[in-house]
Symmetry: C2
Subunit: 246 residues, 2 copies
DNA sequence: GGACGGAACATCTCTAGACATCTCCAGCGA
DNA sequence: TCGCTGGAGATGTCTAGAGATGTTCCGTCC
């Protein structure tokens, strides 16, 4: 019935943060402070701090202390980036940094692979048929924020710049159009979950940070899919925006 | 340099799950099993199991054991639900249950409150000006999956069915249209983070489950916002889908 | 056949201490 | 002034045990 000690301690810390006693980036009371203040064992104090870390409220830096996390999201416009319309005004609920900071490609790997089962199904291929895979990592101010894996039917893009790291002006969609497979319709599917250990490493994620999964499928006029792009986003770095008319 | 024991143990468990040795819903080796198998202390075995839980791979049921989690997402179409267009075909990347199971309202609270600062800014109100708030919880098969908090300028909707629990056919958008404030444009902003303890309680979330935050703003023809709907979704229960043309 | 009780077993909470490893900063030396 | 080196202090990992609490299941009793 009674609340465990570690939850009570965690609650007091959360309350103090909510009160503004500790702001973003500030150092929280550490294990030793909590042991003294609440008269508990080290493991109990650790458990309390662990609650805040697993909720993404705080972040421990080994040897330094436990600090309140910050939230500086990027805004990613899912639709305007692929059309050129502009609805323009209308304030946003979340405050945005005025400057659209620039995200740049950090790592890139282009190659040909047998298609995974779920990719082959969408692209209308038989399993293990080759696909052109473009695997990229994007960084913002040195911090990786996005992993993107794009798959296209290998037979469709063979010999085109799509199979090379630099696809030229307009990117792969412009090249697809030149090949007679212009994408005219897109579908984005969005999920969220905790990262795998591989994603944690590649995105340098602190504990308690989920990832957003965005899977975009590009369709041509005849309704066939020509590209599947699976993206993994640091949830702490992104707001996805979708604007559309009724 | 050497990997901690608890991570090694966690890795073996993950590998066993990936190998199919343990399927969704199966019981994993418990604390006592891991202590005996790897010759470690109880807290170390707990730490290993904690890794899988915080990654959302496993779920502990007190007194029963630790079990592999399942993933049965609902598909929420962000655009088609608000328009009537249908692109129709085109396979999805994630397998979907054929039946569109039905989500029903479980709790509802309608009232008038002073507007929060970020709501007032979007709706073009001064701070603390009253807004009509519709707070709802949706359940699927008895499990809560979605919290929705809709805010509208109180002056705009006073006396209309919007201020009552049952808004009638077509919902609040049909009522807004009748009042001369038909929404013609929508914006959805999507984020993800770990849940607050309040959200954990209201959605009955197991550990290691993030939430998706969807904030929808409805605009009328003249570009003014008439509704802000802040939704909290169990990330383990939802796939958000956005379909649009280039 | 059904209800109840209890034992076995599971996770959860917490203690007290040990050693490892990393960070930060002050002080020293070139 | 610059750079290196300690050392203090912080978190990370791990042990060995104890009691609390919830679940499961089987045998007994009605």
């Amino acid at each position: 019935m009674t609340e465990p000690k570690y939850q009570r301690i965690a609650a007091t810390l959360k309350a103090a943060i909510a009160e503004g006693e500790y702001g973003p980036g500030d150092r929280l009371p550490g294990e030793n402070d909590l042991m003294a203040a609440h008269g508990v064992a080290r493991m109990t104090a650790r458990q309390a701090l662990g609650v805040l870390q697993s909720e993404g409220i705080a972040e421990a830096r080994k040897g330094a202390g436990v600090f309140v996390r910050t939230f500086h999201p990027l805004r990613r416009r899912g639709i305007q980036r692929l059309t050129r319309e502009a609805w323009g005004s209308g304030r946003s609920v979340w405050s945005v940094d005025a400057t659209d900071r620039d995200v740049v490609v950090d790592q890139i790997r282009v190659g040909e692979e047998p298609a995974a089962e779920h990719i082959a199904r969408v692209l209308g291929l038989v399993a293990d048929e080759p696909v052109c895979v473009r695997d990229r990592r994007f960084v913002l101010d040195g911090k990786p924020v996005l992993l993107s894996t794009s798959s296209l039917p290998a037979g469709l893009v063979a010999g085109s710049p799509i199979t090379r790291p630099d696809t030229g002006p307009g990117g792969i969609y412009a090249r697809l159009a030149e090949l007679g497979h212009e994408p005219v319709h897109f579908r984005e599917e969005v999920r969220s979950r905790m990262p795998t250990s591989d994603e944690t490493a590649r995105l340098a994620l602190p504990g308690g940070t989920p990832v957003l999964l965005v899977c975009r499928t590009a369709f041509t006029q005849d309704g066939s899919a020509v590209e599947v792009n699976e993206m993994v986003l640091d949830a702490n770095s992104y707001i996805l925006e979708y604007d559309f008319d009724a």
